[in-house]
Assembly symmetry: C2
Homo-oligomer: 318 residues x 2
Amino acid sequence: MKLDPRHLEILAAVVDEGGLTEGARALGKSQPSLSRTLSQLEHRIGAPLFEPGRRPLRPTELGRALAERGRQVLTANAAASSIVTKYRGGKSGLVRVGGTPVFMDGVIAGMIADFQQQNPDVRIDQSYGYAEDLTAALTAGTLDLAICPMRRDARAEGVEFQPILPGLNVVACRAGHPLMRRTLVTPADLAEFPWIAPPVDSPLYKDLRRALANIGTEAFKISFTGGTLASVISILTGSDALTVLPYSVVFMLRRQNTLGALSLQIGHPDRDLGLLTARAAPASPAAARFKAFVAKQFGGLAVTIQQHQQDMLWRGAR
Amino acid sequence: MKLDPRHLEILAAVVDEGGLTEGARALGKSQPSLSRTLSQLEHRIGAPLFEPGRRPLRPTELGRALAERGRQVLTANAAASSIVTKYRGGKSGLVRVGGTPVFMDGVIAGMIADFQQQNPDVRIDQSYGYAEDLTAALTAGTLDLAICPMRRDARAEGVEFQPILPGLNVVACRAGHPLMRRTLVTPADLAEFPWIAPPVDSPLYKDLRRALANIGTEAFKISFTGGTLASVISILTGSDALTVLPYSVVFMLRRQNTLGALSLQIGHPDRDLGLLTARAAPASPAAARFKAFVAKQFGGLAVTIQQHQQDMLWRGAR
DNA sequence: CCAGTTTCATAACATCACGTTATGTAGACC
DNA sequence: GGTCTACATAACGTGATGTTATGAAACTGG
């Protein structure tokens, strides 16, 4: 006995609403349609679903039992509809986001927390990688959004880059570091302190090398390498070590008052931090929503950073 | 967003079976049919349900979420099918059975217990009534089966009567009643004992009157009237009162050894105990099954009673 | 008991979704 | 790179589902 789940839905609606007319109205169909459908169903089953010759159509025991199942179909269907609606509104779904480790840990993780506060049904898969891997993952369709620094002129095939922050690295150290008191730090001052280096294949490592070369300090001693942002922060706060970090990361940590940035111009990398998305496949609503959220947050962040720098400048000039 | 529950079923089957081909086989449909249906569903939803360009078709997060709902639809549908199958096999449903009070309590109740032992999903609504009411209820469709005594020549309109036992009433009393020792009881012996009378509108009451008239005893004192079988038995066992009961009822109670029947010919009523069913509406499978069960039980009962009587006769003759 | 109202059943018809077979195409695997 | 398997597409027939119009039957009130 194979039944059509739609027939069960109709039966449930008619039983629950108390009549064909009401049931038809509830389902948005015509009354004769339901009448015929239920007649056919009764004929197929070979047993009456409604007591014959009763005008306010009353279900039999069997009709009630089957209506119960129809109710289950209706609720499952409604749940499915809700899932689709939420998905299309970006309120639900999966977002696979990747980026350079330090940015993800230092900046994006906080934004993800804010985003999930408002969108609890959106699942976020975070992964780490550098521009090349991220681009590959995006074109392969295994990633929805990447957040990484990228050269302004670099146009990778099949991906779209949307700059959100100018690249700006600073020399970071613990809040009470000896060099923090100086209003101006010279390259020579840096020589005596140990350095924490990012992984050698990271853009940040290149930035570090380039920054030190610009300053004129080629020889520097590396005391720690390979850790994630969390371990870097631990070591920085527990020692007088220095490292190069994106200013945005240092800025986001300002509330904890554990890290500071030296007043030292180390030269901007020729890259912008930005959002990388695949050009081919249209992003899922949740991914698009998350992307828009991140972009907006960074917009606010850029303004805040600017205000903060103005403030620091003003206080420094005083 | 209104979805077709059948599409969800198909999605669930494909996701669970791991492919279109397997899903099609599981549903008893062709592979292209599912392919097109799911394509349309994806198009309607506006989002992919399966990761594109993967050969062992792998569902997306959304696809999995909707498949979960489809699974609910499938289980509800399967449950509905099971209900129908059990209903058609008479293994489930509602049986409304009515009959004369004493018979229902004394004989049928025990059969109902046996029936429900084997058919736990069949619900039985028991009601009481006499031939006239029962016939009316049957033709009105508010009763599936009636069990009552009926004259052999009485043919009510629209109902069918199937005799199952010859009507046979006996004078009943408690097991240790003074009259029980006598091998032969005369009408005069009955005069000194009080009588329990059934309700005056019951056929049993008429039987009592007729039986006593046949015997020649018109004047008898009635000490109790109006109770159900349970109270009649209580009073019989606690006193030396007499009453008229169908022999089948006394026989069914033989195990308890509380009641006995006097060796007194009181004349058979011109009625048979039988099953009354509506001729018009075909009985529900469960009702038909119950009717067959009761008929078979009574068949066995008739044989047992006969053997018992033979046995009694033989012992009495010895 | 009768008239009015409501509620369901039936008829006739159009359309679209579904199921079929045949066939093309693209990952996957060795 | 060749082959196999699995999915997608095409073309077509049929049947179920939707519609409106209308009839019949049952509940309502006086």
